[in-house]
Assembly symmetry: C2
Homo-oligomer: 352 residues x 2
C-alpha cells in the first residue's frame, strides 16, 4: 500500500500486537483475546468491531506468546540433524498424516557447526529448549539412545534402541538386507559384495549383519575384500564401488546399503564399461521411491519411510491423547521389490 516502501527492503513495521488492536478498537486486551479465541462473554457488536480492527491491521496472534502462556502450542516437532533424503522422505509421511489434524508441524534442525561437540547432544538440547513451550510432542530422528526425560511425548525413529527407552519405530533393516542377499543368492550369485552404510547408524550395522547372515546360511565364506564402506553417500560409495569392480575377481552382484550408494555403483559400473544389469547385478536399500520409478526398473529393498512417518505420528497422537502404546517398538517390513532386471551370474558369464 505505502508507495515509498522499497520492494527490496520493505519497511519493517513493528509487529502488530494485541495491545494495538485493543487500543484501536477501544477495548481491553482481554476482550480482544476473547474474540480471537472465540470465547463467549463478548457482546456481538464488540466482537464485530474487534474483528474488523483485526483484519484491518492484519493482526495475527503470536504463536510464541500464546503458547508460552497456554502451556501448549498445537505444534508437533520433528527434530532432525539435517534435511537429507531419508529425513525428508519421512517428513512427507508425517506431513501427510498430520494434514487436516489439529496440529501444525515444525521440522527443526540446529545449526550444526563444524565442531563435533556441537553435534553431540543436539537432540537433548533441541528437545529441551523446545519441549513444553514450543512443541507439544516430538518425533526425533536420531541414532542416539539416550533421550532426556521430557515434558512431552516423544517417538524416536531409527534409534539404536533396545527394548527399553522411548517409543521407537524403524524399518526391518536386518530382514530386508537378508532378503536382498538371499535373492541374489537365489539367482546363483556367489561373489556378492556389500557397500556398507554409516558405521554410527544402527540401520547400517543391521544391513551388514543381514548380508552376512544370508551368506553364512548359504554356506558361503566371508570375503572381507568384498565389503567396502559407502557411508550412505555418493562419493565415498563411488570410490568403494570402483575398488570392488576393479578387483582381480570382481563381484557379480553388489548389495548397496542405500539408494545413493546403489546409484553411485551403477554410475561407476557404466564408466567402467559394465552394463547394469547385464554385466552386474545391483540391489540397494531404497530411501526415495521416485529414484526407482524410471525405466528399466531396478530391484530394490523398499523402505516404507512415508509409512514410518505416518506410524510415528499415530503413536505420537496416541501418547498425546494419554493412551499407552500397545506396540511401543515397531519394525516395519522393508520389502524386496523385484522389478525383473537383475541378471543371473550365468547370463553374465555367458556374455563375458
Amino acid at each position: 500500500m505505502s508507495s515509498d516502501a522499497s520492494p527490496v527492503r520493505p519497511a519493517r513495521k513493528a509487529r502488530v500486537t494485541i495491545t494495538d488492536v485493543a487500543r484501536s478498537a477501544g477495548v481491553s486486551v482481554a476482550t480482544v483475546s476473547k474474540v480471537i479465541n472465540d470465547r463467549d462473554g463478548v457482546a456481538l457488536g464488540t466482537a464485530e468491531r474487534v474483528k474488523a480492527v483485526v483484519s484491518e491491521l492484519g493482526y495475527e496472534s503470536s504463536l510464541v506468546a500464546s503458547s508460552l502462556r497456554r502451556g501448549r502450542s498445537g505444534v508437533l516437532g520433528v527434530l532432525l540433524a539435517e534435511f537429507e533424503p531419508f529425513s525428508t522422505e519421512l517428513l512427507k509421511g508425517i506431513s501427510a498424516r498430520l494434514s487436516g489434524s489439529d496440529y501444525d508441524l515444525m521440522a527443526y534442525t540446529g545449526a550444526l557447526g563444524p565442531h563435533p561437540q556441537d553435534q553431540a547432544g543436539w537432540e537433548r538440547r533441541s528437545l529441551s529448549s523446545l519441549a513444553g513451550t514450543l512443541i507439544d510432542g516430538a518425533i526425533i530422528v536420531t541414532p542416539t539412545v539416550e533421550l532426556p526425560d521430557t515434558t512431552i511425548p516423544v517417538v524416536a525413529v531409527d534409534p539404536h534402541a533396545g527394548p527399553s527407552g522411548p517409543a521407537a519405530i524403524d524399518s526391518d533393516n536386518l530382514g530386508g538386507a537378508r532378503a536382498a542377499t538371499e535373492y541374489l543368492l537365489s539367482l546363483g550369485h556367489r561373489r556378492i559384495a556389500h557397500l556398507r552404510g554409516r558405521a554410527d547408524l544402527q540401520s547400517a550395522l543391521l544391513r551388514e549383519q543381514g548380508y552376512r547372515e544370508a551368506l553364512t546360511a548359504a554356506g558361503i565364506p566371508e570375503r572381507p575384500e568384498l565389503i567396502a564402506d559407502g557411508g550412505y553417500r555418493s562419493s565415498p560409495a563411488a570410490e568403494s564401488a570402483r575398488k570392488l569392480l576393479t578387483l582381480p575377481q570382481p563381484p557379480t552382484a553388489i548389495f548397496a546399503a542405500n539408494d545413493l550408494s546403489a546409484i553411485a555403483t551403477i554410475d561407476v559400473a557404466q564408466s567402467l564399461g559394465l552394463r547394469v544389469p547385464e554385466d552386474l547385478s545391483v540391489v540397494g536399500f531404497d530411501n526415495v521411491p521416485e529414484a526407482v520409478g524410471t525405466a528399466p526398473p531396478l530391484t530394490t529393498v523398499a523402505q516404507p519411510l512415508r509409512e514410518i512417518g505416518q506410524e510415528a505420528v499415530r503413536m505420537l497422537l496416541d501418547l498425546l491423547a494419554g493412551h499407552s502404546l500397545a506396540q511401543p517398538h515397531l519394525h516395519l517390513p522393508a520389502q524386496l521389490v523385484v522389478r525383473g532386471t537383475t541378471a543371473r551370474p550365468a547370463d553374465i558369464v555367458a556374455r563375458a
Copy 2:
C-alpha cells in the same frame, strides 16, 4: 535413571525452568541468566556452581521464552504448504547453506484442513504468527503474490511475482520449457504433447508457455488435443497420459511438466506396450535429481532446487545483515540435460 518410569509413557516431569536452577543453586534467576548467556559480572565460583546445577538438572533455556524477551530467536523459518518433493529438495539446499551458520532452521507447515479457506492465506497467517517472535527471517514457498508487510526479512521462492514485491527467486521455467521442446523438435518430432502442471502455479503456466512458444517458433500449429492436465501429480498425470497415448494419432514425444508426471507417463506407456524411449520420447522437468540417476538415463530439464535454496538463504542473510540486494529477483537457469536416450521420430516410425 528413575527405574519406575515406564518406557512407553515416561513420567512427564515438569519442565526444568531457570527458577528451578536458581533455587537449587541458591542464587537469583538473574544470575543464572547471566551465567547461561556468558555475560560477565558473575563471580567465578558462582558461575561454576550454577553450571554444575544446570548440567545436573539438564536445564536448557526455553527458546520461546528467551526469544519473546529478546526480540530475536536466532532461527530462520521456511514456510511451506506441505512437505513434498519440490519443497524438500529446496530444504536440502537451505539446510546445507545454513549449517555452520549462527542460525537454526525451522520448516513450518500449518495443519491445512480440508476446507479451501484454511488454505487461503496460510502464508500470511503463519508468517504473522511466527514473525518477530519465533523467526528472525523467512523463506516462503508460495505462489501467492500478496505477502504481508512484515517485521522480518522475507525471500519468496516461486511466487507469481512481478518486478515489485518481496525478494524472490525461481527457476527459469520459461526458458527450460522452451529448451526441452526445442530439443524434441530438433530430433524431428512434430507431434509433441504437453502434460501441464498445476494451473495455480506460476511455474506450470510458464512451462506451458515455453512449450507453446517453441512450437510456434517452429511453425507448428497448436493442437489443443495434445495438451492435457497432469497437475504435477502421479495419478492425474497417468490418466492424461493414457488419453494422449490412445489418441487416433498419438504424439511421438511428450514434454511433462514435472518428474512425477514424466514417471507416470513412462509407466503408462509401458503398460500400453510402448517402450521408452524406443517408441516414445519423454522429457520432463525434474525436481528430484535422484529420480533420474538410474539407468538408462533420461533426458530432463534439471531445476537447480538446492541451489535455489542456497541462494534464497544468501539473500535472506544479506537482508538480515541490513544490506540491500543487488538482484532482488533471481531466475536460476533450468538446464536441459541430454542423457542420450531420447528417440528420434524416425526411429519410432521405422519400428512401427
